[in-house]
Amino acid sequence: MSKFRKSLIVLACFASITLALTPAHSASTVKVGIVLPITGKHAKFGEIEKLSFEMAADEINKNGGINGHLMELIIEDTTGKPDVGRSAAEKLITHDRVVILGGGYSSSVTAAIAGVAINNGFPFLVNTGSADIITQPTAHTPSGKRINRLLKELAGANDPAKIVKLKEKIVVLQKRADREVEMILPRYAIFRLNPPVSEFADGLKSFLSEVVKPETAVILHENSLFGTRGAAAFAKSAKQIGTKVLFTESYDSGAIDFKPLMAKVKSANPDLVYMVSYILDASLLMNQSMELQLNPKLFAGAAAGFTLPEFRKTAGVASEKVVSATLWHQSLPFPGSREYFDKFRAMYGRDTEYHGAEAYAAAFVIADALRRAKSHSPSDIKKALKQTDMMTVFGPVKFISYGRKIHQNKLDTYVVQWIDGKLEIIWPPKLAKKKYVFPINWIKERQ
């Protein structure tokens, strides 16, 4: 017994020493975990965000840091794969002992990391992953996941009896999901800075209905979470503005040859080709459309690949006059956005775009929350994030709940067009710096 007691005392001593040492050890810095794709096919996006995060952290630390402590970024590579992202997040939480997670590129990976964060009751500020379900707590419950599967089935179902049956099932599951959410909510601290993908095309929608007025459209999308959700959301918008969707096709974002697909689009001859793509596929889609002389009234992209400077570099003239939804542009009237753009260019010798702005803004939102938090425990940081109300280069940030979403920042989206090799903001008209080019003479543009 006495032996047992002794060992208990020794253990207790060790425990108290380690406990006493841990805060003392990290007193000088506050660790923030950032998960990004530094390698792999999304590396380009990861890089632009990493540089922006680092630039922001530098500025924050020069201006007093987090109440006198330095903000230290620990950046982990997700390689663009959900399973790697999950273990990276776990490592940051349990091994590196960061106080909050940030970053999260590509919807599939972000959703996986969000799962880890919820399991650990850990705060996670998402700044790019855009599938709607990320900020919908119901989607993270077992029943919610089943509902999502049933919804997909429902979208493809034709048999009326089956549709009724599916709908009944969903209603039952919804009730169960609502109960399950009650269990999750105390541990739910996912916040999102950027608009969800279902809202990406909101700005574009008014441009289409007021200027382009397309009668028919074809939707092409990459087949992961981001593309699938973006395409479904646009199909809904198309219905609202009276555009008939001829067909929707998905593809794998690593594909080499889009010719057969584009040939099929050409034979359907739509007014509008709407694409939800990452970068490599975006350039190839445009290059090969040009090769096949596919000339609809308008090519429109859903942000992501279509706004990166690399899109212009790799697609060349094929990118000319392509329109894209975007979440940010340097000429928007937010304080510091032009300065951020210029500073980025001066520091790294290249252009930045909305992904970088998201990351840059996210760093300031994290710093602001950490400064205000009573302690750096997950629940206190969550409380502080909830009270966030600030202006960033990316626009105003305030986390609200609407629809099924919780902790979601609501922002406008804009429309940009590649005019003479430059990405120009063209919509809404009151913010436009350049007049949109429409109708487009493709033969002339592509010479």
Binding site: K41, K44, G254, L261, K264, E291, Q293, E310
Partner: protein
């Protein structure tokens, strides 16, 4: 009809390049008896050579074939000589040691290229990159058409080499029966090095020729290794004629799948065929052609 023809053309042109990639792998497979899992990565290195020559000196991608192919040939020979041959001599429970080694080499090549060139997407924009020839309403991409012809020429040259030269015969002999070849006085170690170099050189040519129409980043090797593997199985492992059929079949299947079933399923259809071949026709097209 137009759609059908366009699909046929796209599939065929892509198939030509696939064949070249597949032949390289199948050649190595035949002689070494192992799968070279760094195949796509060797192609990626060749693409970087082409890119560098273009970016630094403005060398046309087709001209740079004269540099990239010998360079990767030498790299291939060196890999075989210094990394794979020594493993052959060691008795282990795992004869697959060499396969594991190729995986490692593939990873190392990827990371070295990332270190030098970062993860940026690189591409070459030549004056003819987007040129197309129109025949009626069917478009032929000029670079892919040139690629196809070069692939045919290279394949022809390879067959001549294998059939009518001493080294070529030694390669075939080693592939058929290594021990017997050694007894007949063939220097098997030298032959395996040369074969690995040849296989690497062929895939290097494919990589270089892909540059005018495709993009480049360090992780591009993996998918092509996978494709090469599928092509080899389709054609029958170790069969060069089979690899040509395998390559063209894969190109066509992917194109038709993309047009008539769904682009999303293009890869899946290729793999289903792969599966069916293994089940129904083990040994692939080699069983039919016998070569």
């Amino acid at each position: 009809m137009e759609l059908l023809l366009q699909t046929l053309v796209s599939g065929f042109l892509k198939g030509g390049l696939y064949a070249l990639i597949g032949i390289g792998m199948t050649l190595i497979m035949g002689v070494m008896g192992i799968i070279n899992l760094a195949h796509g990565q060797l192609m990626m290195v060749s693409m970087y050579i082409t890119y560098s020559l273009f970016a630094l000196f403005g060398v046309d991608p087709y001209v740079s074939l004269a540099v990239s192919v010998p360079a990767i040939f030498i790299l291939g020979v060196a890999i075989q000589k210094f990394f794979l041959n020594p493993l052959m001599k060691i008795d282990t429970i795992l004869p697959e040691n060499q396969v594991l080694m190729t995986v490692g080499i593939g990873m190392a090549l990827t990371e070295i290229m990332r270190f030098i060139f970062t993860s940026d997407y690189k591409s070459i924009q030549t004056s003819y990159s987007k040129t197309t020839l129109l025949m009626g309403n069917i478009s032929f991409s000029l670079p892919l058409l040139i690629d196809f012809f070069i692939a045919v020429i290279l394949t022809g040259a390879l067959f001549y080499f294998l059939k009518h030269t001493d080294t070529g015969r030694s390669i075939r002999a080693t592939a058929q029966d290594r021990d017997a070849a050694i007894l007949m006085g063939v220097n098997a170690e030298r032959i395996t090095s040369i074969t690995f170099g040849l296989g690497a050189g062929l895939v290097a040519a494919a990589g270089t020729m892909l540059m005018p129409v495709f993009y480049l980043f360090p992780d591009i090797g993996g998918p092509f290794t996978r494709k090469a593997f599928v092509i080899c199985i389709l054609g029958g492992l170790g069969s060069s004629v089979g690899a040509i059929f395998g390559g063209i079949t894969l190109g066509l299947v992917e194109a038709f799948g993309a047009t008539y079933i769904g682009m999303e399923f293009a890869d899946m259809i290729g793999l289903i065929i792969f599966f069916l071949v293994l089940l129904v026709l083990p040994g692939g097209l080699k069983r039919i052609t016998g070569m």
